[in-house]
Symmetry: C2
Subunit: 123 residues, 2 copies
């Protein structure tokens, strides 16, 4: 369910957070379904449990999952973290536009590329 890409420069815990975010948002992981336990997933990925723990803690802070002590971590019903997540995303997008403008990349070029990328990966 989860794969680690050691070519990816991002830290492991961040990759794990990202993967679960996508699985949850896409509905592949249904609400209230259980995530693999910290120790089990750590074993499966051959990494330290603390790394998984860190990822789960972040996911909890973002509202994607909720923990029950002694039982496990579960997918949240309403993802309250999404709006905040999106807000940050739009901040990044704003920075990106600023960068483009500074480099003389026209609005049309920007839009055209974005549209293409959106189209490319449509199943």
């Amino acid at each position: 369910m989860i794969l680690i890409d050691y070519q990816d420069r991002r830290p492991i815990y961040e990759q794990i957070v990202d993967r679960f975010q996508v699985l949850i948002v896409k509905g592949i992981l249904k609400a209230d379904s259980q995530l693999p336990s910290v120790r089990k997933l750590a074993m499966e990925l051959s990494i330290n449990p603390n790394t998984i723990q860190k990822a789960y803690t972040l996911l909890e802070q973002q509202g994607f999952i909720y923990p029950i002590k002694g039982r496990g971590n579960f997918v949240a019903q309403d993802i309250e973290g999404l709006s905040e997540q999106n807000a940050k995303f739009y901040e990044d997008l704003k920075d990106m536009v600023k960068y483009a403008m500074d480099r003389g990349i026209s609005k049309d070029d920007f839009m055209e590329h974005a549209a293409t990328y959106y189209g490319e990966e449509r199943a």
Copy 2:
């Protein structure tokens, strides 16, 4: 000409690279005009000369400037680095679109925001 923002999380040399890139692309620094010397700018900003040096080395590798030993650094005539720069930019944009798609941000939302940001900062 150059300011360091210590609130900015980016390293100093990166800020300097960015500033000069913009100054050069916008034509504020004309071709073959001289940049401040490594030591002078370092003195002016109260930082180590090596930090400036690192920035200048990057700018040279990207084709924005060219150095003459013993004389100084100068703005390149044709900025060959720009196409490569833009290629990287579009890669980042592609990643951003992928991220948005994964989180269920629609093409329209994405486009609308980008367009707004482009409009906002128009002088």
